[in-house]
């Protein structure tokens, strides 16, 4: 007789394997990094062979790609979209701007550190990251999913208050429905 813990483990491995090889990326070009996504999806780099494909709405997507700098206006939409995605969900920070602000470090309208606002699973550095870098970022994400370490959504849920405080600091007019699960 298999005990519950072991069977759960096997189920987890299978589920993680499926999640790892089927990554649906939300069609949201938040910044200039989106320009390297078409080459990533087309003939030379062909991300679809890794199971990466686009998803039109947040309900169907697994990965939110933050392609570059985030202005405060976009951040609001990004949070909204992120909260509409279904668990498990992953955030990939794309480009230097998401890491430390990049060349817009002194701009009054762009955030500098993405992981204060959303739980980032993988950062891809560079300005802008080449398609190879994007693919290696996806590979890294797959690695983390397989190991069961890509649990950004759980982190977000647990530390919701802290994230919310950070978000509300730069979004004064908070009209969004609440994250209620």
């Amino acid at each position: 007789m298999i005990n519950d813990k072991n069977s759960q483990k096997i189920v987890d491995i299978i589920q993680n394997w499926a999640r790892q090889h089927s990554i649906w990326v939300l069609a949201y070009g938040t910044g200039c990094g989106a320009i390297e996504l078409p080459p990533t999806m087309t003939s030379r780099y062909d991300a679809e062979r890794l199971g990466v494909r686009g998803a039109a709405t947040p309900r169907q997507a697994d990965v939110l790609l933050i392609t570059g700098y985030l202005t405060t206006k976009t951040l609001k939409r990004v949070i909204r979209v992120y909260e509409q995605m279904q668990d498990p969900k992953y955030v990939v920070g794309f480009g230097s701007c998401t890491i430390n602000g990049g060349m817009y470090y002194d701009s009054y309208n762009t955030i500098k550190v993405l992981d204060k606002y959303l739980p980032v699973d993988v950062y891809i550095n560079g300005c802008m990251p080449r398609p190879e870098a994007v693919l290696s970022g996806f590979a890294k994400l797959q690695e983390r999913i397989a190991e069961g370490r890509a649990e950004g959504a759980k982190k977000y849920k647990e530390n919701l208050e802290w994230y919310r405080a950070n978000q509300k600091k730069i979004i004064p007019n908070w009209v969004m429905p609440d994250y209620n699960w």
Binding site: Q15, A18, S43, D46, R49, A56, T57, D62, Q86, W181
Partner: protein, 304 residues
């Protein structure tokens, strides 16, 4: 009692076959598309992985009871039509509920699912979903006309409204109906392009226009059920065409070959065309396809 058990087991086997074949065909579609686009493409079993991932999503949202049951409606419709369509000729492992008049029954049961899903899409309150549904229903008035014309032509030519009878006609005469009733076949194949909703008839969930249309709000488990139902449905449609026009199949290999050849028509056509607008699509179906349907009826009436 034994035969009931036998039938239930057979039904489950049929369902599994349809699911697996439908999913693999979907994967092959992606593979073919990728190859035409100079890409390597995903493995042919990619759709299974996608389905598994969708099924293992931890959360799913719904906007109410109709959206919750929408996928169930589609599943019922797919499975029900699968039960009516004979998979193989005279094979006890794949029984079916064939009866006289099942062609007309099929026409309606095939609508049951989309209408149920439309209700689910309507309840989400997403305008994209509602617009997608209106497009889908409008498109249906288009392709159903040549499709029904083709079926009526077959019915009046062979004096039957049963799929099995039509298969028997082909077995007895030794010629496929696609050769003896060519116009009906042409009209039906043209209607099939609309049924599969590949380009140029992918107006329902056109991504650049409506995000993903009626399924905009469906994710996780709901999308999984829909995807499975869609795969089963694709298999049903292909098998029905094989049964009606290509003489049915004696064993699985022949069935797979015939259905795949048929499946290539919408897939390859979709790779080279721009998306129609709804009214263009409807008008297209009322044009040449309906003309061929009319020819088919004339042939059936005057050249029996």
């Amino acid at each position: 009692m034994e035969s009931v058990l036998y039938n239930i087991l057979g039904a489950v086997a049929t369902f599994l076959l349809a699911f697996v074949v439908g999913m693999i065909y979907g994967g092959l579609n992606r593979k073919i598309t990728a190859r035409v686009q100079n890409r390597k493409g995903p493995p042919f079993y990619q759709n299974f992985i996608d389905a598994m991932k969708l099924a293992s999503k931890r959360s799913a949202i719904h906007h109410g009871i109709m959206q919750h049951f929408g996928p169930a409606f589609i599943m019922v419709s797919s499975v029900m039509s699968l039960m009516v369509v004979p998979v193989l000729t005279h094979n006890q492992w794949f029984p079916n509920l064939n009866f006289h008049g099942d062609l007309i029954f099929l026409l309606y049961i095939m609508v049951f699912g989309p209408l149920g899903m439309a209700l689910g899409a309507g309840q989400t309150g997403n305008p994209n979903s509602a617009i997608g549904v209106t497009r889908g229903l409008s498109l249906m008035t288009g392709f159903e006309i040549p499709w029904v014309m083709a079926l009526v032509a077959l019915m009046i030519q062979y004096h039957t409204t049963s799929i099995v009878d039509l298969m028997n006609v082909q077995i007895q005469s030794g010629t496929w109906l696609m050769f003896s009733s060519p116009f009906a076949f042409i009209a039906a194949v043209m209607a099939m392009l609309g049924m599969f909703r590949y380009s140029p008839f992918d107006i329902v969930g056109a991504p650049a226009e409506l995000a993903s249309g009626p399924i905009s709000e469906n994710g996780g488990k709901y999308l999984f059920v829909m995807m499975s139902a869609g795969s089963v449905f694709a298999f049903v449609k292909l098998t029905l065409y094989v049964d009606l026009f290509m003489g049915g199949a004696d064993n699985l290999v022949i069935l797979l070959v015939k259905t795949f050849v048929l499946y290539l028509i919408p897939v390859l056509y979709s790779l080279t065309t721009v998306r129609y607008r709804t009214e263009h699509a409807i008008r297209w179906f009322w044009g040449w396809p309906s003309f061929f349907g009319l020819l088919a009826i004339l042939q059936a009436v005057f050249f029996k």
